[in-house]
């Protein structure tokens, strides 16, 4: 356990050193070349803006986060449900699943204006886009997880008189967990994109709206502060899922060879 933590911190040093170096370079370049902050504000100014205008940023961050998380959960629940249907129903698997996969080629973002026509500007449109954009990776990953059961494991369970119900809960579900978490990690970043794009086109609040507003006012420091806040939030959400994954999928825990037995 300690060994892993130490390795992790050593691994983390390099990206931190390099990004720190880039920030210093950025700061020096902006000051040295007298670049106007409307074109490119230095990191220090972005940081100051984040502190000075934290109330404004937070006011717009919450609705975005709220919709991101809600849309994400809808797609997790919906994606897993559809994946189970696809696993057990031949009609779903042979009829609908190909349609689901083919419809993936539609750039979901392009549907955003259509949603505004149908549902107006605001929460519903944003939620739907976040859901739509995340639903496919969730469904496809989960379906793969439920279906990629080792043939011998299924045979073993049947030999010991396992019922379909038992096989689902005791084999398919745990087998699907790593795949489901894989889908969740893709989906959470996509959900943010969905919400932000909706806010660009159809909202009076949210970080996406704030970014667009600041852009219109040529308030580049505020814009970049908003982008930074958004990135940090995205990173935090992703980290939360990665943490939950490590706890839930304990049997795949890294290259923990130290406690394994030889012979």
């Amino acid at each position: 356990m300690f060994g892993k933590t130490r390795n992790f911190s050593i691994e983390a040093v390099w990206p931190i050193v390099i990004s720190g170096g880039l920030l210093v370079l950025w700061e020096a370049a902006v000051r040295g070349l007298h670049i106007r902050s409307i074109i490119l504000p230095p990191p220090s100014e972005i940081f100051l803006t984040m502190i000075e205008r934290r109330d404004l940023l937070l006011t717009h961050l919450w609705p975005s986060l709220y919709l991101t998380v809600l849309g994400f959960w809808l797609s997790v629940v919906g994606g897993i449900a559809v994946a189970i249907l696809v696993t057990y129903s031949t009609i779903m698997r042979k009829g609908f699943y190909p349609i689901i996969i083919v419809s993936q080629v539609i750039p979901k973002i392009s549907i955003a204006p259509l949603f505004i026509v149908w549902f107006g500007t605001g929460t519903v449109s944003e939620l739907l886009l976040a859901f739509l954009i995340t639903f496919f990776p969730m469904t496809i990953n989960s379906a793969l997880g439920f279906q990629s059961i080792d043939e011998d494991i299924g045979l073993m369970a049947r030999t010991f008189m396992g019922s379909d119900w038992q096989i689902f809960w005791k084999i398919r579900m745990p087998n699907a967990l790593p795949y489901i978490f894989g889908g969740m990690k893709i989906s959470i970043t996509l959900a943010i994109i969905g919400v932000i794009v909706s806010e660009f086109v159809a909202s009076q609040e949210g970080i996406g709206y704030l970014i667009k507003l600041a852009g219109g006012l040529l308030d580049t420091p505020l814009m970049m502060a908003a982008i930074t806040v958004l990135s940090i939030s995205g990173l935090a959400l992703y980290g939360l899922i990665a943490y939950a994954e490590r706890r839930a999928v304990y049997w795949q825990a890294s290259s923990d060879i130290s406690s394994s037995a030889g012979g």
């Binding site: 073993m156 037995a261 012979g263």
Partner: protein, 266 residues
């Protein structure tokens, strides 16, 4: 060590009747005849190996005995009762250990107990005794990935025995192991079997393995599979690895090889 609870004898058949009776069994997959008229009686607690080339239908025969696949013709009965589907009297060991990676070794061994909806608490002790007999009780609370291939297969043998089945089916259980581990596992299996007497049907394509383990070896020919030779291995038990040096053992091996070669010529 030898205090494992034996299953309560509530047999409907007379004691002399075979534990397993395979009678005129045939199996077709579509038009392909896989098994052609196989009949075989196996006595209670007898260790029988089914020996034959790969793809000859040995595994299909096991599938028929589990009841997961139906015979096209003929009948299989266990303790006088015809097999119509999976039955709790059967334990099975596969070519691969097929342990569930998210369960500890102990929980893997108790998996059939859960599937059969038996009380876990009542079988934990038995599971631990089996693991001790297989010399992997120290790893009861480890995950399968922390075990070597041989240890995993031992765990899967414990799993097959945990619900105290009458019949133990083994489908080339040691073929995925290296040669040294394989010999060792054979000795271990006999030691466990000596304490947990079961009717064993052991499918293998290793002549020496079949001769070493069995009371009787049944040789199957190429597809469609029929029994082309039966040989009783009259060697004393308990058997140790030194037996493979014995001239009588090697006579059996030669005899079995001849039978297999004869089937190739035909």
């Amino acid at each position: 060590m030898s205090t494992l609870p034996e299953s309560k004898e509530k047999t409907h058949a007379e004691p002399s009747s075979p534990a397993l009776r395979i009678k005129n069994v045939r199996k077709f997959y579509d038009d392909l005849e896989v098994i052609k008229n196989v009949s075989l009686d196996i006595a209670q607690n007898e260790f029988v190996s089914v020996l034959g080339p790969s793809g000859c239908g040995k595994s299909t025969l096991l599938m028929l005995i589990t009841g997961l696949v139906n015979c096209s013709d003929g009948e299989i009965s266990i303790m006088g009762e015809p097999v119509r589907g999976p039955r709790p009297e059967i334990g099975m060991v596969f070519q691969q250990p097929v342990l569930l990676p998210w369960r500890t070794v102990l929980d893997n061994v108790l998996f059939p107990i859960e599937l059969l909806r038996l009380s876990r608490a009542k079988y934990v002790e038995r599971a631990m005794e089996l693991l001790a007999m297989a010399k992997i009780d120290d790893f009861a609370h480890h995950l399968p990935r922390q075990l070597s291939g041989g240890m995993r297969q031992r765990a899967s043998i414990c799993r097959a025995l945990v619900h105290n089945p009458r019949v133990l089916l083994m489908d080339e259980p040691f073929s995925a192991l290296d040669a040294l581990t394989r010999d060792e596992m054979g000795v271990e299996l006999l030691r466990i079997w000596q304490v947990n007497r079961k009717t064993v049907i052991f499918v293998t394509h290793s002549i020496r393995e079949a001769a070493f383990l069995s009371d009787r070896v049944v040789v199957m020919g190429r597809r469609p599979a029929t029994i082309i030779e039966e040989m009783t291995i009259d060697l004393p038990r308990p058997r140790q690895i030194g037996l493979t040096e014995d001239e009588r053992f090697n006579q059996y091996v030669r005899g079995l090889r001849k039978a297999i070669e004869a089937s190739h010529v035909r």
